[in-house]
């Protein structure tokens, strides 16, 4: 007897998703690839790749990016792993505070940190001036590689901490005891057991830092000066002083994707060497942090978090200072906010909130549907959808911005400068993360619960709406708030796609900084920071746990 495969609504959804993905993801990526091998006069050529590799002022950006990204990754691991270790294995005072502030640090818009550090340590920065006037010490320049390393590693070490926190908590105490039983304790146990067990997570954290640091556009733009990195080069080619060159920018974008793809596969290959899973029945009991060692642990953790968080506080403080142009003067006022009001503050807020909400709604709907298709209706098409949806994970924001611009900048899809194209880029950029967390949530839901619902007479759709979605709700909600934060702090793709009508808070901040309007920039940055902090505190209240899924 033949199989009776009934036609079901999920088949329709699957086909619909495929159509959407082909139009909004595959088509732009293909367009980008095409553009990269087409000369401005329309010939097929590899000249542009030749142009890139033959000129040292281009190739040096790759080296610069590699140098800064790899250094940042290592620095973040070096700062974050001990921090996570102290946090997870010792009873630190105020550990909740450390945790919350770390999250606040790593989710802030990176270029705001860069801007704040310029205000503190740059030419004419307060600390620079203080050191010079009081002690006659010249602390040197923070521009160039040094500054990028400072800002990025302070932003990304909390990311490492959050990852490692998850891994350390999954180490079963009996493993620690078994190790001690066989005579392996202290530092030797730390490396042979704790670190070895956490290796997959260390690699995952390293990749995450690498991707974000490599794609970061704002920090090197503000701090790099002579030290040009790859995303900055792409942006300059697209909108530089030397005029636009879409084709060469596309070529650069393809090279950038190759770099991140290589990093991605190296990480995958590395992780495949550590195939084990852990789930602690008896989590490690925290030891009291006493004596000199305890003091040093507290000092390390609090100092690190304080330095990382200082820029955000300083920006809020600065926003209330009187200013004129690039100079902050004595006294306090709301003048910066008034200036910001005149400069599209309301439109920026409105656009940010509107695009955030719409993008988030689309992301959640697509992510839930894809997760269901992948987990419960696994087949070639649906697994293909999953793979396509993951592609943006290895694409820096500038690349996605450029791809959308090429695909939808001309008829029949003239979307340039509209809110639609901005929302599109936000959805594409954030989708991989939300799909990951939705898929993970759904995998934990036993299939028999859905079967129970069906055996009780509920239809498949009713089961999905009444049973599956409510059970996924918690995981989706906490993931959604993090996506929300990522969306409102986004800059690297929207800077390529925006115009005056679709300006956002981060773009307004960035423009004010670039134009040297430091007081107004502080006001914009402060508003962005406060919205971010408020959203994250909401997230922590909702998720109630420390298992942050980034």
């Amino acid at each position: 007897m033949a199989k009776h495969k009934k036609f079901e609504v999920w088949t329709v959804i699957s086909i619909l998703m495929l159509a959407i993905f082909l139009l909004f993801m595959v088509y732009p990526m293909f367009g980008l690839l095409k553009q990269s091998v087409i000369s401005p006069d329309g010939r097929f050529t590899f000249e542009q790749f030749g142009k890139f590799f033959s000129r040292s002022n281009y190739t040096v950006t790759i080296l610069n990016s590699a140098k800064s990204t790899i250094s940042v990754t290592l620095l973040s691991l070096a700062l974050g792993i001990p921090f996570a270790y102290f946090y997870c294995f010792y009873r630190l005072k105020g550990s909740k505070l450390l945790f919350v502030v770390s999250i606040l640090c790593c989710m802030s818009a990176p270029f705001i940190g860069a801007y704040s550090w310029i205000m503190l340590l740059g030419r004419g920065g307060v600390i620079t001036a203080f050191m010079k006037n009081t002690f006659g010490i010249n602390i040197g320049s923070i521009y160039g590689l040094k500054g990028i390393l400072l800002v990025q590693s302070l932003k990304f070490f909390p990311l490492v901490f959050i990852y490692m926190n998850g891994a350390f908590k999954n180490i079963d105490n009996t493993l620690m005891e078994a190790s001690a039983n066989m005579g392996c304790t202290g530092v030797s146990r730390l490396f042979k057991i704790v670190m070895a067990l956490s290796m997959p997570t260390i690699l995952a954290a390293a990749l995450m830092v690498f991707m974000q640091a490599f794609a970061d556009f704002g920090t090197p733009m503000l701090l790099g000066e002579g030290f040009q990195t790859f995303p900055v080069l792409i942006y300059n080619q697209y909108l530089g002083e030397n005029g636009q060159d879409y084709n060469f920018a596309a070529t650069l974008a393809v090279i950038a994707v190759v770099v991140t793809a290589v990093a991605f596969f190296i990480q995958k290959w590395g992780t495949s060497k550590f195939k084990f899973s852990m789930n602690a029945l008896h989590p490690v009991e925290k030891k009291p942090a006493k004596g000199l060692a305890g003091f040093l642990m507290h000092l390390y953790c609090y100092l690190l978090v304080a330095i990382a968080f200082m820029p955000q506080l300083y920006i809020i403080y600065l926003s209330f200072r009187k200013s004129s142009g690039a100079i902050f003067t004595e006294g306090y006022s709301l003048g910066n906010y008034q200036a910001a009001m005149r400069k599209l503050l309301m439109r920026s807020i409105k656009n940010t909130v509107f695009m955030g909400v719409v993008a988030l709604a689309i992301i959640i709907v697509i992510a839930v549907l894809i997760a269901y298709l992948v987990v419960r209706r696994s087949n070639v098409i649906n697994n293909g959808l999953d793979t396509i949806a993951m592609l943006p994970y290895i694409m820096p924001g500038a690349v996605i911005g450029l791809a959308l611009l090429i695909a939808f900048g001309k008829q029949p899809f003239a979307l340039t400068g509209t809110l639609t194209i901005m929302i599109l880029s936000l959805v594409i950029r954030r989708l991989p993360y939300t799909i990951r967390s939705a898929t993970a949530t759904l995998m934990q839901i036993s299939l028999s619960i859905e079967e129970a619902s069906i055996s009780l007479g509920a239809s498949k759709m009713k089961t999905f709406v009444k049973v599956t979605i409510p059970m996924m709700a918690n995981g989706i909600l906490s993931g959604a708030i993090l996506s929300w934060v990522a969306i409102i702090t986004e800059i690297s793709s929207s800077i390529i796609l925006y115009n005056n009508k679709s300006i956002t808070l981060t773009l307004s901040t960035y423009m004010a900084i670039v134009r040297g309007n430091y007081g107004m920039a502080a006001a914009f940055a402060a508003i962005t920071t406060v919205v971010t902090i408020a959203s994250l505190l909401l997230y922590l209240a909702v998720s109630k746990s420390e298992d942050v899924q980034l």
């Binding site: 055996s455 009780l456 049973v467």
Partner: protein
């Protein structure tokens, strides 16, 4: 209302991998029927085919006169209890129980009265507004049962419902399940790999191995007259010994390890001299402390005193190992090395063809359709 379940020539394949080659079964109305077998024997697969969660590659499934092969699982009117209970974690106990009734679009007052009735029956009324995470395993089990039963299903399907409970609760809940099923009078198909649990609850048991039903019968008949050597070894403990049957003056004699005894219960069609395998349960070996009494000669290897009974592990003169259960006596337990003689309770032992495929005694009741 209770219905008969008829399965004709069921076939289940995953790709080219055949799980159930050709299975036919009648489950009587109102019966507590258990599918019993080692893990991987296809019993859960069969249950899920009845429920509609597994595709059916061949054969026909009927509830009464109604063929259900292509019926949507939601419309089969079955109650199902899962191994992990599958309680909806985001709904209160009451919401869980009334979920199925709401899907039937019953009037509100009827939903309430029916929900109350079954919560009372399962003694969970006190927890009606609790969330499932605040219930113990046993309580969750009761919710799952109430939820499955209150839609008044035609059949109740249970997939190892007790395997997640601790030993004491398992014994308690199986009595609860048995009594409720008896009170409601519903046809019930129960899957387990625990033969003691199967014996305790079932009207009839189907013993399965490798996708094939070996024996269908009452607990008593499958224990005392198993259809083949697999059933004999899977149900309860047994010693499998090699022997032979000889016919002298039209009467059968069992020869076992140099000991012979008349075997009056051989079925007429098997009445001939042949090699056999014999299943002797530990309590069917009769221990004699005097080694000179005629019987199977053996040496005690180990003894375990368990209160009511004492278990002896012995080596027979043929080199085979055997286990004996004896009611504990006031005398000293035999020490390792003690020489003994063993009698055999020939009324109870089972004798199979040399390949183990069939029992050659009379009194085997196997409802399996040949």
């Amino acid at each position: 209302m209770s219905v008969e379940i008829v399965i004709k020539n069921a076939l289940k394949k995953y790709g080219e991998n055949v799980i159930i080659p050709d299975l036919s079964l009648d489950i009587r109305p109102g019966e507590f029927f258990t599918l019993l077998g080692p893990s991987g024997c296809g019993k859960t697969t069969l249950l899920r085919m009845i429920a509609g969660f597994n595709s059916i590659e061949g054969g026909d499934f009927y509830f009464g006169d109604k063929r259900i092969n292509d019926l949507d699982p939601a419309k089969r009117n079955i109650g199902m209890v899962f191994q992990n209970y599958a309680i909806f974690p985001h709904m209160t106990v009451r919401k869980n129980v009334e979920f199925g009734l709401k899907n039937k679009k019953l009037p509100k007052d009827q939903i309430k009265s029916r929900t109350d009735e079954f919560m009372k029956l399962m003694q969970i009324s006190d927890y009606s507004d609790r969330m499932p995470e605040r219930l113990s395993g046993g309580q969750q089990q009761r919710v799952a049962l109430a939820r499955a039963l209150c839609i008044e299903p035609d059949v109740l399907l249970m997939d190892e419902p007790l395997s997640n409970l601790d030993a004491k609760l398992r014994v308690e809940m199986r009595t609860v399940i048995k009594n409720i099923q008896h009170d409601v009078g519903i046809t019930c198909v129960y899957v387990t790999h625990d033969q003691e649990e199967a014996m305790a609850v079932s009207d009839r048991i189907a013993v399965m191995n490798a996708g094939v039903i070996q024996h269908v019968g009452t607990p008593k008949s499958i224990y005392q007259r198993p259809a083949n050597i697999f059933v004999a070894t899977f149900i309860g403990r047994t010693n499998v010994l090699n022997g032979s049957v000889t016919v002298e003056d039209g009467k059968a004699v069992l020869n076992l390890c140099g000991y012979s005894a008349p075997l009056p219960t051989v079925a007429p069609e098997h009445m001939k001299g042949q090699d056999v395998v014999v299943s002797v349960r530990p309590e069917e070996l009769l221990l004699n402390r005097d080694p000179n009494v005629p019987g199977i000669k053996a040496v005690v290897k180990d003894a375990v005193f368990l209160g009511l009974n004492t278990h002896y592990f012995v080596k027979l003169s043929t080199g085979e190992d055997a286990e004996i259960i004896q009611e504990s006596s006031i005398e000293d337990t035999l020490a390792p090395g003690a020489e003994i003689s063993l009698g055999v309770n020939t009324d109870k032992v089972n004798v199979f063809l040399a390949d183990g495929s069939a029992n050659i005694l009379t009194g085997v009741k196997n409802d399996l359709k040949a």
